[in-house]
């Protein structure tokens, strides 16, 4: 199965909480897409939002890409590293688009301190509004040796959905991940890539 509805264009959002590794994941996607011959544009968030705030990276592939931002209602895929962020960015998904979401929920500090509430049963909203693939990325990453590699597990799940060859992905992971974390991250990628097979 492939989520690529227009063979010459693919718009994605990577959403999560500052520190979850959205930028690394987007860099790997960018490398892989470039190696597969796409034009690529991406837009990242740096600075204050990285301190545990809501973060989003826009990734656009195509023959020629103009805007570095995905328009609201245009994303083919949203890769969500956290479920409240999936909910927040869901209006960016186009009708019929795919949501790949970690099962993790990270309550904001305002919720932890009792100053705000999380909505009940977030996954049911996600399932109702989007073709949703929920992934227990944190557990899978932990099984690979480091819970911080959850981002790369999710990336592996995404990779399986996209029309880029596996070798291109593996090379991109090797190019983007520092040597000492490579083993864990390759295992995490594989766990994600084979996720659908059980």
């Amino acid at each position: 199965m492939s989520v690529l509805s227009h063979p010459d264009r693919l718009d994605m959002l990577l959403v999560g909480v500052g520190g979850q590794g959205t930028i690394l994941a987007s860099q790997i996607i960018g490398r892989a897409a470039l190696a597969a011959g796409y034009d690529v544009k991406m837009s990242e968030v740096h600075g204050m939002a990285q301190r545990g705030g809501s973060v989003v990276t826009h990734v656009r592939l195509g023959r020629t890409v103009c805007s570095p931002l995905v328009a609201r209602g245009d994303a083919d895929v949203i890769l969500a590293f956290e479920q409240l962020e999936a909910l927040r960015w869901l209006p960016y998904l186009k009708p019929g688009g795919t949501l790949i979401a970690s099962s993790q929920i990270v309550p904001p500090v305002t919720v932890l301190a009792g100053l705000a509430r999380c909505p009940d049963d977030v996954p049911s909203y996600l399932y109702r509004h989007a073709r949703t693939l929920e992934v227990d990325a944190l557990d899978r990453a932990r099984a690979c040796g480091n819970p911080r590699a959850a981002n790369v597990v999710l990336l592996g799940v995404l990779a399986r959905e996209l029309p880029l060859p596996l070798e291109v992905w593996l090379r991109a992971v090797r190019e983007c991940v520092p040597e000492r974390f490579l083993g864990v991250n390759l295992a995490a990628f594989e766990a994600g890539y084979n996720y659908r097979d059980g």
Partner: protein, 586 residues
């Protein structure tokens, strides 16, 4: 084969500076500009330095230009406010080696206290301005800006915005070409602007600007892409990309050089199209100019002047203007609103201890710019003000001046990098005027907010060389402060005692709250444990606002992936139910 790489605008500016023979790069970190200099510093044969502030950075760059080398100076938009003094004079004196000031503006204030459109600065200071629309243009425009700088004897502004600085797109890489250094010859009529010389340079500047206006008519970065002539759009920067996306068939006048503007080219374009629009981020800078030419134009009535533009806002503008048919988007009206997720101080952040204590003591806290501004947010809620770099100190004294009793209830809080940037002069003012105030310097040994850049207190330079470490206590004493003490910000009892004593003291005092940024010193630490039988679920620990702590079913829970073992919550818990933490093996 030509090498191509996916680069952010900031990486591309650094690459452009390298390829086009820039020898000296200086700046002060600030989102979204920081990575320009960090990347430039990685190239061979360059001199890259962090300055204590943007004014010093520009002055160093002016000196480097005077000595005949090519130089760039980088900063965020508000940094140009700090560097404005030398900038305005630099336009008069001109350059020797090419001099480019990179201003990275932050529409939408992703990580800034205001949004200002620094194209206005280019016009105000009378320096040419270039605005790239992607990373390739960013790289190429550094070369163009340097050449224009040298040919027209003037510093040049390269204006980026967040979406250019932090977006990645493809860039062709070239070789470095280092131009021969231009000799410096003494010439006080040019380099020394006392009034008699300045009056001459003032007229000369207008002549240079006239030549630059002529250049703007023909320079290839200002071009027309003809399409359907029923709609013509004048645009610049990232807005150009949104217009191409939304109106792929319209005629576009794309302006890469936005000061001086090409009046003739604009008039010619306007004559050929039925409806003329300007689409630009922030101020109606181009629009006002076009209207000033007596040309009928539409713009800000459809495209907001506040915040960032986006493809959907540009589309909505053209829908409102009747150029595009309205496109219905699916309505997700039963979607619950997720709770906001503001940024927070990291688990283990030493600032948390300071704001916990200041909140408990109910002091008025004048704040400053850095991660620690987050101490203003609930549940810490322990900061009253934030204005600009260094303002905490002057403002605390201003409060005291009008309301002397308040000195015993007020502290100024400022980070180490911010103190070196522009806090020292404020403190000198307090000493000079016999203030009774208290300043807390949050010394975490780095410029944390922007990603841990070095500064005069870190002992290292941007190029990785060892440097003398400024002695902060001695510096503060040398400014005339007699009451100086150093406290661990995560020692609640000692810090509380120190703050109480110093605000009561009848003279100016400085508390240095010293502990390295938790992201900087990654020693393996034991997470805190909860002794459940002691925990009463009183939620006192949550007042510290630590993301690693929560209370579930009336028991505290520590997230052992997030917990850094800093032990602040252990000191806060009235039941002694939180235990452990600390460095493994200590």
């Amino acid at each position: 084969m030509m090498m191509k790489e996916l680069m952010t605008g900031n990486e591309a500016v650094a690459r452009g500076a390298y390829e086009h023979g820039v020898l000296v790069g200086v700046g002060y970190p600030g989102t979204p500009s920081t990575e320009i200099l960090e990347n430039f510093a990685r190239y061979e044969g360059v001199l890259a330095q962090w300055a204590p502030n943007e004014k010093v950075a520009l002055e160093v760059a002016i000196g480097a230009s005077m000595a005949g080398a090519r130089a760039i100076v980088t900063m965020k938009h508000v940094g140009v406010n700090v560097a404005a003094d030398p900038l305005f004079s630099a336009a008069y004196i001109g350059v020797n080696g090419g001099l480019v000031l990179v201003s990275a503006d932050d529409p939408g204030m992703h990580s800034s206290q205001n949004e200002q459109d620094n194209r206005q600065y280019a016009r105000f200071a009378r320096v040419p301005c270039f605005e790239p629309s992607d990373s390739q243009e960013a790289l190429d425009m550094v070369g163009l800006a340097l050449a224009v700088s040298e040919e027209y004897d003037i510093p040049v502004m390269l204006r980026l915005t967040t979406r250019i600085a932090h977006s990645r797109s493809l860039v062709k890489l070239g070789e470095r070409r280092l131009p021969p250094r231009r000799p410096y010859e003494k010439n006080i009529q040019k380099w020394l602007i006392l009034p008699a010389h300045a009056r001459v340079r003032r007229r000369d500047l207008e002549e240079r600007l006239q030549k630059l206006a002529a250049l703007s008519e023909t320079v290839p970065v200002n071009f027309i892409a003809w399409g359907d002539r029923r709609v013509g759009v004048i645009t610049s920067g990232v807005a150009y990309q949104y217009v191409r996306e939304v109106l792929p068939r319209a005629s576009i006048l794309k302006l890469g050089m936005t000061y001086p503007l090409p009046a003739g080219l604009i008039a010619r374009f306007a004559r050929e199209v039925e409806r003329l629009f300007v689409v630009e981020e922030l101020d109606p800078y181009l629009e006002d100019f076009v209207r000033g030419l007596g040309i009928k134009v539409e713009g800000k009535e459809f495209f907001p002047a506040i915040g960032e533009l986006s493809p959907e806002l540009v589309r909505a503008g053209f829908e409102k203007a009747g150029v595009l048919e309205p496109r219905g988007l699916p309505v997700l009206d039963d979607l619950p609103v997720p709770p906001v997720r503001p940024p927070v101080l990291c688990p283990g952040c030493p600032h948390r201890g300071v704001f916990y204590v200041l909140g408990r003591l109910k002091l008025t806290v004048t704040g400053d710019i850095g991660c620690y501004t987050l101490g203003a947010l609930p549940p810490l809620s322990a900061m009253d003000t934030c204005v600009c770099m260094g303002a905490s100190i002057g403002m605390a004294y201003g409060l005291e001046l009008v309301d002397p009793e308040r000195a015993a209830k007020t502290v100024a809080v400022i980070g180490d990098s911010t103190f070196y940037h522009s806090g020292m002069t404020g403190l000198l003012h307090m000493v000079y005027h016999k203030s009774r105030g208290t300043v807390i310097i949050l010394d975490n040994g780095t410029t944390a907010m922007t990603g841990h850049q070095d500064h005069p207190g870190t002992g290292r330079t941007l190029s990785g060389e060892e440097a003398p470490v400024v002695d902060l206590e001695a510096l503060v004493r040398a400014l005339g402060v007699r009451r100086v003490r150093v406290v661990d910000p995560l020692d609640v009892a000692r810090l509380t005692e120190a703050v109480k004593e110093e605000v009561a003291a009848p003279e100016v005092s400085v508390i240095i709250a010293r502990r390295p940024c938790t992201l900087l010193k990654r020693e393996p630490r034991r997470p805190v444990r909860v002794e459940e039988e002691r925990c009463k679920g009183c939620r006192t620990c949550l007042k510290a606002g630590c993301p690693a702590l929560s209370v579930r079913e009336k028991k505290a829970v520590v997230d052992d992936v997030l917990c850094s073992g800093c032990g602040l919550c252990v000191q806060i818990c009235p039941q002694g139910a939180l235990v452990g933490g600390g460095v493994v093996g200590a």
